[in-house]
Structures are given as structure tokens and as C-alpha cells.
């Protein structure tokens, strides 16, 4: 089977406008998480990682559409592909898109996907993968599948999320937000922070570079908002991708790590069941917050950069293990000589996903 590889990428976040800038910021232990009062007209203060709207909003476009198209543009340039070709497809990953304009505009996600494809003169139907918090991971998997179907030579996978009163009040109503910067897997964790970002990966065929080896999505079939107490779907997704590798080959598992009590405990159980307790684990939510539709792509890109630099990124916010199993959470940056990693995510609707990435040249 031909190898699906990453041939271009981009990240726009409060910490930087390129993957390299963002990677450097993570290595330095930075974060843009801060407390906002009265933001978006939300009564209760909240902590979030928000982008500079003035900098990124293009006249005539919403902030969301602006960062989606800008992230795609940068990844397309990096890949050097023809975005208007009928052999190129666009996949958009987002959960709420332009929801902040629900009262005044057509905010269907399909509309944003059409504007994305139109911005590049691309003739293909624009598809949105909206699979809750695993959307970015599911969209990358979808991009891989589209390539393997033989219909396309390149797929541009773009993930983005912007915050709004709609989303912030929703998470507040679920009592899911922490009033401080979040602490993934920590004993004192008490909820998540929301974040804004856009990130894109162009997938194509190749022999070298970062291969998207395989991926799986599995459902807990348990509860629409509560994670499984047995890590059922997360374990099954991990089991699927581990068919292509072994724990010894993995530099780390980059987990969801939202820092809610139940998510992190669930992931620890799934990691244990999958036999991965000896593999380093890290999470990036303490740096970027939960960037929802962008998270799977953003966190995958930074994990690739980490392996390239032979390091295991630190888990900002983590200090004392607070899950029931001895997961090897990397508090500080570590080193690695391994060439593969697993990206893990879970979300509402009981959905879980795992992707396996491997740097070309390594023995299979």
C-alpha cells in the first residue's frame, strides 16, 4: 500500500504564526492562557487561550473563516501543491465554526467549507468532519482515506476553532471549566480551558517524511457526555493502531489530557489496558487550552516536531500524578530516539480516536 505522508503544515495560535514558532514556545514552557472578564459578554470570568482577532481577521471574512483560509494557504504553500486541482480535496475540521453569528448569518459548517474551497478555486465538494473533540484527528484519518481511495493526490486538512459566548457558557453550564490554567493528569486538576487556533496538514503520497500510518475511531457506547469508566472506545482505538507498531517503537503518546477529572482518568485506564504504561505520555492543553476542532491537527504537528528534535515535550500544568494508574506523564521535557508516536483524543458523543505517525526511514 502506498504511504500517506504529511507534505505541508501550518499553525496559527496565540503563541505563534508558524509550526516552528509554536514549537519553540512550547519548549520554553510558554502559554497564552489568561483570565478574561466580560469577554464575549460572558458574565462569569474564564481562563482561555485566545488569538488576536484584529491581527487575523481579513476584511469581508469572519475571524473563523479568516484563520481557516490563512492556515490552509500556509500549508498549501509549504507543500507546493496546486490547490485548485480537481485531484486536490479540502477537509475542514471544526465543531462550532461561525456559531458566534448564529443570530445574523448562515453559520452552517458547510458554508465555511465552501468558502474554504472557493478561496482556492477548488471544484470538489468540501467536506466537514465534525466529530466533537476528536474532529481534527478524524479529519486527518478522513484525508488519509480519501487519498487511499485513489480519487485524490493531495488532501488539505484544516482544523480551526474560535471561542464565543455560545461555547464558553456551554462549558460553564457543564461545570467543565477550570478557573485557573488547567493541569492535565494532575492531582489538583479541576477542569479544562478553552483555546483558539487553526492548523493544517497537507497529506499526499510519498516514501519519506512523516507517515500517517493508520488510525481508528471507536465509540464508548456508554454516555453522550461522560467518558467511559473502562476507557472502552479509547482502548479499542489504541488497540487498532498498535497492530502496526509496538510500545517499544513509540516516543510517546500525546494524549487528549483535557484535565477534567473523568477524561484524564479514562485515558489512564485506556493506556493501561493497551499495555502502554511504560511509554511516556504528554498533553498540550496546559499550553494551548482545548482548541477543539484544531486540537487533533495542532497537537499532531507539534508532536512531529518534537520527535524530529528528539524530545518529548513537557506537560505544562502537570506536577503530581492524579490518576489511578502509574502513567508516565512527562512533567519536564525529555529526550527520545524513537521515531513514532500515537495521538489520542476523546470527545462528547462517546467518541474516541487514535492515530499512529511514524517518521520515514524507520524499520517497519
Amino acid at each position: 500500500m502506498r504511504k500517506v505522508v504529511c507534505i505541508g503544515e501550518s499553525i496559527l495560535s496565540p503563541l505563534g504564526a508558524t509550526p516552528a514558532e509554536n514549537f519553540a514556545a512550547v519548549c520554553r514552557g510558554e502559554s497564552a492562557l489568561q483570565r478574561y472578564e466580560g469577554m464575549f459578554g460572558v458574565r462569569e470570568p474564564f481562563v482561555a487561550s485566545l488569538m488576536d482577532r484584529g491581527r487575523w481577521t481579513v476584511p469581508g471574512r469572519t475571524f473563523f473563516d479568516s484563520i481557516v483560509i490563512e492556515a490552509a494557504q500556509r500549508a498549501v504553500e509549504a507543500a507546493g501543491i496546486d490547490p485548485a486541482s480537481p485531484r486536490t480535496a479540502f477537509v475542514l475540521s471544526t465543531i462550532k465554526g461561525n456559531i458566534e453569528y448564529i443570530d445574523t448569518q448562515d453559520v452552517t459548517l458547510a458554508c465555511s467549507a465552501r468558502r474554504l474551497a472557493d478561496a482556492f478555486g477548488n471544484p470538489n465538494p468540501a467536506v466537514v468532519v465534525s466529530n466533537a473533540c476528536i474532529s481534527g484527528l478524524a479529519a486527518l484519518l478522513q484525508g488519509r482515506r480519501m487519498l487511499l481511495s485513489g480519487r485524490f493526490d493531495h488532501v488539505v486538512v484544516v482544523g480551526a476553532e474560535v471561542q464565543s459566548r455560545f461555547i464558553v457558557t456551554g462549558f460553564q453550564s457543564l461545570k467543565a471549566l477550570s478557573e485557573a490554567p488547567c493541569k492535565p493528569f494532575d492531582a489538583a486538576r479541576d477542569g479544562l480551558n478553552l483555546g483558539e487556533a487553526a492548523a493544517a496538514i497537507v497529506l499526499g503520497f510519498g516514501e519519506s517524511g512523516w507517515e500517517l500510518v493508520d488510525g481508528a475511531v471507536r465509540n464508548d457506547a456508554n454516555h453522550i457526555s461522560g467518558p467511559s469508566r473502562t476507557g472502552e472506545g479509547s482502548y479499542k482505538a489504541l488497540r487498532y493502531v498498535l497492530k502496526h507498531t509496538s510500545p517499544e517503537e513509540l516516543a510517546f503518546v500525546n494524549v487528549h489530557g483535557t484535565s477534567t477529572l473523568y477524561n484524564d482518568e479514562m485515558e489512564a485506564i485506556a493506556i493501561d489496558r493497551a499495555g502502554l504504561l511504560d511509554v511516556p505520555v504528554n498533553a498540550l492543553k496546559g499550553t494551548f487550552g482545548h482548541t477543539m476542532g484544531a486540537a487533533g491537527i495542532l497537537e499532531s504537528i507539534l508532536s512531529m516536531h518534537a520527535v524530529d528534535a528528539r524530545i518529548v515535550l513537557p506537560t505544562r500544568g502537570f506536577s503530581e500524578l492524579g490518576v489511578s494508574l502509574p502513567v508516565r506523564v512527562s512533567a519536564q521535557a525529555g529526550t527520545t530516539d524513537k521515531r513514532a508516536f500515537v495521538k489520542l483524543l476523546s470527545g462528547f458523543g462517546g467518541v474516541n480516536g487514535a492515530l499512529l505517525f511514524r517518521k520515514g526511514g524507520a524499520a517497519c
Binding site: 453550564s173 457543564l174 461545570k175 457526555s225 461522560g226
Partner: protein, 86 residues
């Protein structure tokens, strides 16, 4: 108190979409959560927190606190009577 209990039951049926139920179907002392009684779940707890704030001006910051208050309709009614601000 009986009037308050009945009122809470009606609001509960409405807020939690307990279709087809009437106040008479809900035992004052039956547990609201778990497998017995109404079998409510974690989202229902959060919705009941909104119910208390909207109708009685009571703010519960912590869902764990809710678990105590929402043991049964009778316990809820006692709590509302003691803490209501409207």
C-alpha cells in the same frame, strides 16, 4: 411544604423532559439518581442546578453539593425552603 413539593415536581418534569410523568408518579422520598427512582444522570444534576437558580435564586457552585441537595424531592424542598432568595 406540600405545595412546594408539588411545584418542584412539576418543574422537574418540565426541566428534565420526564415525558408522561405526573407529580403523583414521583415519590417524595425516592432517590432521584442511580438505578432506583428516577434514574437521573450527571447532565440532569447540572440542569437541576439551573432550575434552582432560575426559580429560587439559589446558586450551587459545585455539582458535588448538588448530589446532597438532589437526594429526593423532599430533601430538595427542604433545601429550597431554607435557602431561597425569590
Amino acid at each position: 411544604m406540600e405545595q412546594l413539593i408539588n411545584e418542584i415536581k412539576l418543574k422537574l418534569i418540565d426541566a428534565l423532559n420526564l415525558d408522561g410523568m405526573t407529580p403523583a408518579d414521583i415519590d417524595d422520598h425516592a432517590p432521584l439518581f442511580g438505578d432506583e427512582g428516577l434514574g437521573l444522570d450527571s447532565i440532569d444534576v447540572l440542569e437541576l442546578i439551573v432550575l434552582l437558580e432560575r426559580n429560587y435564586g439559589i446558586r450551587l457552585a459545585n455539582p458535588q453539593e448538588g448530589k446532597k441537595v438532589f437526594q429526593s424531592v423532599a430533601v430538595m424542598a427542604d433545601y429550597v425552603a431554607a435557602n431561597r432568595t425569590k
